[in-house]
Each structure stands twice: as C-alpha cells, then as structure tokens.
Amino acid sequence: MIQIEKLNQKYGGTQILWDLNLEVEQGSCTCIMGRNGVGKTTLLKCLMGLLPPSDGRILFEGKPIEGSAAQARAKLGIGYVPQGRDIFPLLTVEENLLIGLPARRDGLKKVPEKIFELFPVLRDMLHRRGGDLSGGQQQQLAIGRALVIDPKVLILDEPNEGIQPNIVRQIGDVVTRLNEEDGLTVILVEQKLGFARRVGKEFRLMQKGSVVAADRMANLDDGLIRQYLAV
C-alpha cells in the first residue's frame, strides 16, 4: 500500500533520514520503533506531506505522492494523529471533528456515529473547547478526528504519551478493532514495548534515519531490542 524508496530528509544542514526504505502492506498494522531522535516523527511528517523530502519516492497505492500537498494526501485517505496531538485548541470538540468532513470521499455531511461509538467521551464533551480537554481526552479526539476523513491508512505518532492506563488499553483495543474488523492499515510509532507487542502485527526498527530491521512482531526478540532500543 505504501512504499517509501530512498527517502532523504534534511533540516537545513543536518540530514535526518538517510536513504530510508519502508514498505507497508495493505491491512497491516506496522509498528515503527527506535530511540529518541532517530527520525520517526520526521518520517511520518514526510509521509503526510508536512515536510518536503529532499529526495526519494513515496508511493501510495502504487501512485507517487511525494510531490503532492498534505491536504491532497488527506483526501487520498491518509489519516494522521500527530505526536503531541495538535488539537485545535480553541475549536470545540465538535468543530475539531467537523473540520475533516470535506476531505471524505463519500461527501458525508455529519460526523459518523462510529466515532462516538469508539470514543463515548467525545459525545459528552462535544461543546467544550478542544484545548480544555485533558490529555487522554485530547488523544481520543485526535484519533477520532483522523477517522472522520474515512482514511485508508491511519498514522499514529506515539498515541499513548501521557495517557492513563485504562485509556491506553482502550486505544489499543480501538486500533486493533479498526485494523482487524475494518481492514484499516495502521502505521504506529510506539516506544512502549508492551503496547507495541499487543497492537502491532509487524515491526520496523529505525536507527540513524533508516530502517534497519523489519519483521513480524512475533519475531521481535531481545537481541534486536538490545541492539536498537537500548541506550
């Protein structure tokens, strides 16, 4: 579904991504892991079109998208939950959700019920400002918001940062459900091994801006962890 070939990315003078290759299958749930600062967020931003890559190709369903703008990618069906959530703080929860509607391909004019089913809190909070929500609620809102555009791929950047345990679990369940029941392709950046193991089906390990290991989650062993995830 997504193929990234020889992606390079620089911030000014410093190169962050180095000839990065990555392939994500349709319907998979891929977990990207790596130490702080290896470039996970950067990679996702490139994928979403929020950072222009210096060089390389990104294919979405076989078509190159590296030149297209972020809004076009959203319309193609890439949903993005950024690190730090990036809720629109002064919009109400409802407005945060409504924003994505025009990007849907089916022209639906109201927020799909499914989202409130997945995250019942959102219904209670509908008229509060997004910025006033607590962290966990914001995280749920961010995921719900990404789902509004009816994505084919859902990108989640550390969705559990600062979230209370029971909601972490709930998010995990939702992601698994979306992936398994609805066949949604999921790309997940996650630091916590437990969660990654429970939710992810595949893993990719990153080091110094490139993907250095890729396999099924079951095969993530202590050796790899020590090599790439320890300090």
Binding site: Q71, F88, L91, G131, D132
Partner: protein
C-alpha cells in the same frame, strides 16, 4: 435722487400694505418697473426691491423668488429681460421665462448676467417665501413658515398668522400659532395674569425663540414684575431640563455614530488581523480603495446617483476583495508563520497603493456625492435631530457586522479559517485547503474593508490619505475588543465612540481623545487580553 425715489416708493407701499395684500393676485404694471430695478440695483439695494415685489406681486412673484433663491436668475445684458437660466447636460445655458416657464433658447455666456444674491438676500427670500407658504403652502410648509415667523413677531406677521388661524388648520399648526400669540402677549401685554398664562403656554417648548424670549424676560433689568420673572425662570428651567435630556440623547447618538465608524473601520481588520493574524498595515488602503470605487461608480452613473451607493457596495467588496486576494497570493502567502513580517510587507504595500491612487486619480480629494436620501436630518424636535447619513451608516455597520458573523458561523470558511490560524499543519493534514482558505479569508477581510470605504466616503475625504487616518483607530478597536473576537470589535467600537462623545463637551475633541487613549492603556492593564479575551488553557 434714485435713493430718495426708492424710499418714497417704500413708504407708499408700507401705507398700502393691507390693501395690496388683498389684490396681489394679478401683477400690476408697477411690478415691471420693480423688475427693471432688480437688474440695476446693487447687492445692498436688491433687498428693498424684493420687499416691494412681495407687496405688489404677492404669490405671483413666487417663481421669481424661487429662481432667485436658487441663484438661477439672470438678465439679458442688452434687453434687460429677466430669465431663469439652467445648465443642461452639455453645459449649455438654457434660458426660461421666469413666470411662464417658456423656453427662451440657449444663451451665450457673454449676453447674460446673473442677478447676484448673497446670504442676507437669501435669508430675506426665504422669509418672503415662508410668508407666501403660510397662506398657500402645504401643511408642512405652513408649519415651517410659522416656525420661521416665531423669530420675527411683527404686527404684520401676527395679522398674517391670525388670518391663517381663522382658516381651517390642523391642531398642531393651531398650537404653534397659539404659541406665537402667547409670545406676543408676554412681550406686549401689561397684564400680569395674561403674561403668566402666556408663560404657561410657552413652558417646556423647545423652539429657540421661545427660550430666547424667556431668557430676555429673566435677564431684563427693567422687568419689575417678580411673579412674571419667577414664572419665566420656572418655564426656562423646564425647557433646560428637557434640553439636557435631549442633549444627552444627542450625545448618545453621536457616540453610537462615531462607534459605527470605528466598527466599520475595524471590522475588516478583525478578520485579517484578528482571525488570520496578519498585521495588515494596508488595511486602511483597502478602505480607501472602497471609497475610490464609490467615486468611480458615481462617475459611471452620473444620472443615477441615488442608486450609486447600492451598486458601490458590491463593487467595492469585489475591488478591495480582489486586491486583498492578490496581496495574499503574491506576498502574505510567502510569510506563513511569520506574522511580524507581514507588518513590514503590508506597510510596503500600503505605500504602493497610496502612491498608485495618487498617480491614477491625482493627489486631490475626489468628490463623492451624497444621495438625497442620505442628506439632511430627521428633526425629532427643535433641539434633537438625527442626521440621515450617520443613521444609515450606523444601520449599515450593524448589517455588515451581522452578515460577517453569519458568514463565519454558517459557512465552513469560518471553521476552516480558525483551524488554519490555530494550527496550519494540522489543518492541512485534515485535508483543509489552507491556501484557498487564506486567500478567501484575506479577500473577505479586505472586501469588508472596501465596503466600509463606501460608507466612509459619505463622511469624509476620498483621497490618498483616507486609509492612514483610520489604521490606528482600527487596530485600537480590534485590540481593545480582544483579538480574534468579532463581538469584541463591535462592543469596543461603540464603547470607544460613546466614551469619546460624552467626554467631548467637557474637554474638547482633542483632550477627549487623549483621555480615552489613556483609559485604554490603563484598561489593558486590567484586562491584558482586551474586553473579550480568548479563554481556556490554549489562550495562555
């Protein structure tokens, strides 16, 4: 010699006053001589000629007086014939018989000479016409005529009034005439009871002559009757009380009207600056473009000035709006995320636009005509009136405000623009076409500024500096109200306006302005985010 003759004539006429009044309908031969005199008299002398014409000619002289008052009365240099002269569309001077209206054809500029009128004469002609109106005019004209006569309660005028009162007139007119009678009684009668009754009638009336007369009575040292004096004082107090009330009504209206101007000036900025965060120094020039659009529209439709403003509003929106879009696409777009740089760029743009207007239209002010329906005022009573242009502009400002709020509330643009301004990248990632939103928003804000320009063209100069005179106020209003809050702009505009106007009588315009500014500075200490701050965690 001539002088002597003239005054003799005058004396004669005065003697004949009553009789001539009765028979004035048919113009006697004496009139011809007087008309002849009209062409020869100097400005000072014309007055007495007019007086005689009124006596001899009466109502039949009305067309002459009206033509004269309008400044259209000419005479032929050779023949001495009087005529009314109008200019037609080509600028030719067309002569017309004053009395019959018969066309006398095109007149050469050199052949004819104007019968000059000055202010004094115009005043006299007005009074004359008022007297004619009193007998022959419509009710409104009669009313106006009686009011005019209150100033000049001569015996002759009183007789005139009595005659009118005898005919069948409506209650208000009768009341006014009664007032006039009371004033005469107060002045002339020696009977205390009559006088006090007269004062009773006069009490609480807001007409100027009434007040002046009462004041004269109160201040008159020779007036020995203490009871009359006291009654007059009481009546005067009552009048003053009513006047004070209407005075504050007037101030309130002035304040609201100034507020509406501030609102209009600030409202476009509330979008481009308040919502988008662009420090738009070219905002004033957007207003200016709207005003110039009004001018151009009026040039294009000189025969339909009454409707020009209706056309100008959408036109100005389009003109300023497209310039706004062009600015956004050409410049602002490159300054994404650098709101302060927009200050610099738009400052540059404002210089360019000013100079462009100077080059295209000349540095002079352009003449924008006020349509008749916006001129004049609604006279609510003799001391309180509401000027139409201010009133319509007040309504217009509210209408613009409401439509803007509607656009932002009801369309997706409003939501999108807020999302974009809060987090551009995330908006992109949600599929919002941020560039389109930016262009539309900036266009909307600029377009609204243009619309404001149409309104302001009715109040002030349409010139290259128009924008600069409003830019400071605009920012002040938006910030005072709370950046990003449209309602704040509304409340801010009106409260600044009203505060200014209530201070002004006590302090004068400049000090009022200074005091308001200082209060604003102190107010911001109390509420560092304006009247209506954005709340919540995110606003910190």
């Amino acid at each position: 010699m001539k002088q002597l003759l003239l005054s003799g004539c005058l004396l004669f006429c005065l003697l004949l006053v009553s009789t001539t009044w009765a028979q004035s309908e048919s113009a006697p031969a004496a009139v011809d001589g007087l008309l002849q005199q009209l062409t020869e008299a100097s400005l000072r002398e014309v007055g007495s000629v007019v007086e005689q014409l009124e006596r001899t000619g009466g109502e039949s002289m009305r067309p002459l007086f009206e033509t004269m008052l309008a400044g259209d009365l000419y005479y032929h240099r050779q023949t001495g014939a009087l005529m009314a002269v109008d200019k037609n569309a080509e600028g030719d001077r067309i002569g017309r018989d004053v009395f019959s209206g018969a066309d006398l054809g095109v007149q050469s500029r050199r052949d004819i000479k104007k019968i000059r009128v000055n202010n004094r004469l115009r005043g006299q002609l007005r009074d004359t016409l008022a007297r004619l109106d009193l007998r022959h005019g419509s009710t409104a004209e009669q009313r106006a005529a009686v009011l005019a006569i209150l100033d000049e309660l001569t015996e002759q005028n009183m007789r005139l009034l009595q005659r009118v009162a005898d005919t069948d007139v409506n209650g208000e007119l009768r009341e006014l005439i009664g007032l006039a009678e009371a004033m005469v009684q107060l002045r002339d009668s020696s009977d205390r009871v009559v006088r006090i009754a007269a004062i009773e009638t006069m009490s609480g009336r807001l007409e100027n002559p009434v007040r002046n007369q009462l004041r004269r009575v109160v201040n008159d040292e020779r007036e020995s009757d203490a009871a009359v004096k006291a009654a007059a004082q009481k009546a005067l107090d009552r009048i003053d009380g009513r006047m004070a009330f209407f005075g504050s009504m007037e101030q309130l209206f002035f304040g609201l009207s100034l507020g509406s101007v501030l609102l209009l000036a600030g409202i476009g900025l509330a979008i481009t600056f308040g919502v988008m965060g662009v420090i738009n120094m070219a905002h004033g020039e957007m207003i200016m473009l709207g005003a110039y659009t009004t001018y151009v529209i009026q040039q294009l439709m000189p025969n339909a000035i009454e409707y020009s403003l209706l056309v100008a509003v959408p036109a100005a929106f389009l003109v300023s709006g497209s310039v706004g879009v062009a600015i956004e696409r050409g410049v602002i777009r490159h300054l994404q995320g650098r709101p302060l740089e927009t200050l610099l760029a738009t400052f540059g743009i404002s210089l360019i636009l000013q100079q462009a207007v100077r080059s295209i239209f000349s540095p002079l002010n352009m003449q924008v005509v006020t349509p008749a329906w916006m001129s004049g005022s609604l006279q609510i009573n003799p001391v309180f009136s509401i000027t139409f242009n201010r009133f319509y502009i007040l309504l217009f400002a509210l209408a613009v405000f409401i439509s803007l709020v509607m656009i932002l509330k009801k369309s997706s643009l409003g939501l999108n623009v807020r999302a974009v301004s809060q987090n551009r990248n995330m908006a992109k990632a949600m599929g919002v076409r941020t560039e389109l939103v930016d262009a539309m928003t900036f266009g909307l804000g600029s377009g609204i500024a243009g619309v404001a320009g149409v309104a302001l063209s009715q109040l002030t100069n349409v010139g290259p500096n128009l924008g600069q005179s409003y830019i400071i106020d605009s920012f002040m209003v938006v910030v005072f109200g709370g950046v990003g809050n449209l309602l704040g702009t509304l409340v801010g505009g009106f409260s600044l306006g009203v505060a200014n106007k209530f201070l002004e009588p006590a302090t004068g315009a400049v000090l009022a302005n200074i005091i308001v500014l200082l209060c604003l500075i102190l107010f911001i200490q109390k509420r560092p985010k304006g009247l209506f701050p954005q709340r919540g965690r995110a606003a910190e």
